[in-house]
Amino acid sequence: MAEAAPQTSPDSELLHAIARGDESALAALYDRYHSILLGLLLRILHSRVEAEDVLQEVFLQIWQRAANFDEARGRGFTWMVTLARSRAIDRLRSLQSRQRADDTALRDAPEPVGDASDDAYHAEQREIVRAALEEIPEEQRRALLLAYFEGLTQSEIAARLGQPLGTVKTRMRSGMTKLRDLLGEKMRLG
């Protein structure tokens, strides 16, 4: 378990360097992950303008909060991605309440997929995750993705899918457990 024997990956080294105020480490982290994180933010927010704005916010927070990262409590990658997802879901909620308050709220057209700026490492990770998700039954996968990319709670997912809460919980549990088992070996250091 990560708590017992923390692995020092380059990501966590970068975060430690950022915590010491090393600007080049932040630049390196940006170069490595900005495109992956932007993909996440775009998937959550469906607006390039919003996603780029949150991306900027995320890197500022990484800069400000890197000292709070503790590798005994998980991967650097997880810390960074979780931070990005939280910021995006916060933004999504504020946009949604604004939309309720004002129906004319601006929403960008869906972003077409342009030249993907993936390097070989990210392409490999993408393939591993794609393959893992394919092994998870459709209804479990759907619930997982609704929780992850739309920030819905179990009850909200149950309402969205028109399924009993108990069923949804079971599906999400099975799906997550399976995902962890499938990715466990392959992505431990990622």
Binding site: E23, L60, A67, V113, Q125, T153, Q154, T177, L179
Partner: protein
């Protein structure tokens, strides 16, 4: 509650999908159970990998990186929580993950179960965040529009510039043509005929010049193309003086050439005109083979 009841919540907690009551119950358990904390961390690692399930995106403009790196220079960093944690006694600190501290969960719960005063406060905060978001969006739109207009302006300026250059060139060509016509038509124009030497027996040329000003035009035909780095050069050869250099010129693919020059006063009478092959930059005295030569007038 049994330990198993908590472990069942972990998968949903990793996705932040628990309803608040359950989340609160789990938080209390996590504070005491290292196994569950470790399990939650492992599940969060798996959840974070879902970032790769999002579609790849079009690249970000390089200015974006510059802007972020410029902004961090002006931002102070937080003090590490770790020091706070150790002073509080880390063992009892209920930390479920790196990012979602209990404070954050508490804040979220409060937001969900707000009292009237909280709602009022929230409304103010909401209005402020709407205003900020609207401002940011407007700024982004203005910035995009500004960029687009600047690109368009640059393109138009470039077009105008090119058009002006073309116009100047056309004017120059017209002036040259007019001067040439005047020169060729002038009754006082003098003409010398140049014939090809052994080097180019079919070549021929005519030098027409104004006796008063020396303004001259050379028209040549059937000269072989000059090798790379070489060009033809005109010479004015008056008796008792070294040859005076004229300009260098090259031919088109058919061996035709037109060249404007000024004949020096000493070369306008009783002179011989010749063309040699010289290094392309021209020489002060002939060094190469002679290709064209007029007969002495």
């Amino acid at each position: 509650m049994k330990h198993e009841d908590y472990t069942e919540m972990l998968a949903l907690a990793a996705l932040d999908a628990l309803d608040e009551g359950e989340q609160r119950t789990l938080d209390a358990h996590l504070a005491e159970c290292a196994d569950c904390r470790a399990e939650l961390n492992a599940l969060r690692d798996a959840a974070a990998s879902l970032v790769y399930a999002a579609a790849p995106v079009a690249p970000v403009a390089p200015e974006f990186r510059t802007r972020i790196l410029a902004r961090i220079k002006s931002q102070a960093q937080d003090a590490p929580l770790a020091s706070v944690a150790s002073s509080n006694g880390a063992a009892t600190l209920p930390t479920s993950s790196n990012v979602r501290s209990l404070d954050e969960f508490a804040a979220r719960r409060e937001a969900r179960t707000g009292t009237v005063s909280r709602r009022v406060a929230m409304f103010g905060a909401l209005a402020a965040s709407i205003a900020v978001a609207a401002l940011l969006i407007s700024l982004a739109l203005v910035w995009q529009r500004n960029n687009r207009l600047q690109r368009e302006l640059a393109r138009l300026a470039n077009t105008v510039n090119q058009t002006e250059q073309q116009l100047a060139q056309t004017r120059q060509e017209l002036a040259n043509t007019r001067a040439d016509r005047e020169l060729l038509a002038a009754p006082e124009a003098l003409t010398a005929t140049l014939a090809g030497t052994k080097m180019a027996e079919r070549a021929r040329a005519r030098l027409t010049f104004d006796e008063r000003t020396g303004r001259a035009m050379l028209v040549a035909a059937d000269l072989p193309p000059a090798p790379a780095g070489f060009a033809y050069q005109l010479w004015f050869i008056a008796e008792g003086r070294p040859p005076m250099p004229g300009k260098v010129f090259t031919t088109d693919q058919t061996g035709h050439a037109e060249m404007h020059d000024t004949v020096p006063p000493e070369g306008r009478h009783a002179a011989v005109y010749a063309v040699t092959l010289e290094p392309a930059s021209g020489m002060s005295a002939p060094t190469g083979e002679m290709y064209l030569k007029s007969s002495a007038s």
